[in-house]
Symmetry: none
Subunit: 288 residues, 2 copies
Amino acid sequence: MNGVLYRVRESIGAVKQTEKVVAQYILQHPEEIVSMSVQQVAANCYSSPAAVLRYCKSIGYEGFKDFKLKLAGDLSIISLHDLEKEPLEPGASLENIMSVITNNNVQSLYESLQLLDKEELTKAYRLLVDAEKIDLYGVGSSYLIASDAVQKFMRINKVCTAYSDFHMQRVSAVNLRANDVAVAISYSGETKQVIDCIKVAKSQGAKVIAITKYADTAISSLADAVLFVAAKEDEFRSAAMTSRMATLNVIDILYTACAHEEYDEALLHLRRTHEIIQQSGEKGGRNS
Amino acid sequence: MNGVLYRVRESIGAVKQTEKVVAQYILQHPEEIVSMSVQQVAANCYSSPAAVLRYCKSIGYEGFKDFKLKLAGDLSIISLHDLEKEPLEPGASLENIMSVITNNNVQSLYESLQLLDKEELTKAYRLLVDAEKIDLYGVGSSYLIASDAVQKFMRINKVCTAYSDFHMQRVSAVNLRANDVAVAISYSGETKQVIDCIKVAKSQGAKVIAITKYADTAISSLADAVLFVAAKEDEFRSAAMTSRMATLNVIDILYTACAHEEYDEALLHLRRTHEIIQQSGEKGGRNS
DNA sequence: CTAAATCTGAAATTTTATTTCAGAAATTGT
DNA sequence: ACAATTTCTGAAATAAAATTTCAGATTTAG
C-alpha cells in the first residue's frame, strides 16, 4: 500500500492555495478521480491542469498518471478491508450477503489458525503418520467433514474409514488396535454417538484425536490430542457454516503435514492416484 | 477485486492469434504493463496498438486505460496476499504448512468472490426459492459438497436430495418436473455422470444451476445459471482443497440469499396483515 | 513602494489512447 | 480447387489526455 490518501490528507497543511483545493477534492471523490482526466479534475477544482500536475508532483508522484495508478491500487485494498462483517439485516442486498458470508468464513479460518496449538498438532499428525488404520467419527455436517478427510488420506494410502451409521461406527471402533487412531469430529464436543465410539476406541488401546470447539468438552477431555476451532456464539443463525470451514482447514493442514512427513512416498501415491483417475477419465468421463 | 489476470488466463484459449500473444505477454509482465503505453505493449508483442486495444475490449474492458486501472488494483491486492503462498517445499515446517494452507484457502474464497456474477447469482437463488424440489448432483468430493447443501436447504424446508449412487441420481432426475431445479456441482465441469443427470433433468423441463470452475465447460453450457469458482492450475498438488472451500462458500451464499428471500416474503405478509388490520381499524374504531 | 520570489493558468507540445479502414488471411460453400 | 464471404490485422488518422512552457498575476521582503 502506498498510502496515497494519507499523503494527500497530510499535504493539505503544507501546500499552496490552489493545490489545497485539489487535495480536498481528491479526498472527497477518490473513487472518481481514477477514471478522470487532469482537465476534468482541474475544471471541478476551478483550476488548471497545470495546477493539478504540480500538486501530484509536489506530494511525490511522477505525474498525474502515476498518481492515479497508485491511488487505484490503494483504493482496491481499502475496499477489500471495507467488506462488512456485521450480522446480516433482514433486507440485506446480494452484495451484502456475498461479502458478509465470505468474510465470516475467512475470519473463521484465521481465528482457528490462532487457536491451533503447534504441540497438539504435532502430536496429532505423528499419530496419524504412524497409524495403521484411521477411523473418523462424526454426525451430521461433521460426518461430511470426516468423509472429506477420508478422501484425502486415502490419496496417501492410509487405511481410513468414516461411517454414517452409528452401529457401523461402533463395530469399526471395536476392531481398532493399539497402533490405530480414532478421530472425533464434533463442534459441540458433546455428541453422544461420537463420545461412545471414542470410549470404545480407547478401550481397545487406540489413540484419539479430537477436533472440536474451543471449550472444555467431554470429547476434548477424552482425547490424546485436541485441535480447536474458533467458537462462534450464534450457532443458531450461522447454521454451522463457519465452524465447518475452519474444521476443513484443520483437516487440510493435518493432511498436508502427513503428506510432507512421507513426502517421497506420498508423492508416489499421489502420482498413481492421479494417473488412474486420468485413465478412467479418458475412458468413461472425468471425475469432479 | 476484478480478477483481471484470471480473465486474461482464461481468454488465451478463446481468443484470436495476435491477441493470444498479448495475453501471454500480460501474464508474464503484469507489473510492468500498468506503467506502459499501448504502443509499447504492442511493440513488445510484435503487434499493433489496435490489436492490444481489441484484446482489452474482447475480455470485457472499456479500453486499455480501463484495463490498466483494474489491473493495478488487482496487483496491489495480490501483492498483499502473496506473502506466504508459495508452494510448500519438501522440508516445510509446521508453521509454514499452517499458514500456506490457510492462506491458499482464504485466497480461493476471495478470488471466487470476484468471479461470482451477481446476475447469475440472482438467477440461481430465484430458481431455488421458487423450486418445488431441488436435486443436487456431484461425484467424489463434490458429492460431499452437495450433501452439505442438502443439510442447509433442509433447514429452510426445501425438498432437497443428493444421492451418491449414479442410478439413484438418474432416477431422481427422471422424476423432476418443470418447477424443479437441478444443481450440478463439478469442478472440472465435465463429469460424465453429472452431465448425464442434468440432461435428463432438462428434458423433464427442470431448470439447471451449475457450480464449476471458471472456464468454458460442457456443464456450464447446459446450465440456466452458472456460478464460477476460481480455477487453479496445479490441480494435482492441491488435491481439490481450495476449490472445495470456494464451492462451499458459494453454497453458503446461495443458502443465505434464499433464507433472506423467504424472510422478506414473511415480512411482506406481516406488513399486509398489519395494513389490513389498520384499515379495519379506521372503519370500525381503532384496535389496541 | 519596488524588486525578487513565487504562484497561476492559457496555450503549445508531447505522449498516449482510440478509431478507421483497406488489405491480408482464413473459412466456407460450391 | 476456386471464388465468395467472413474474419483478422496493422498502418495511418484522429481524438484525448498528460505534460511543459512561459508570460503575466500575486505575494512577500526589504
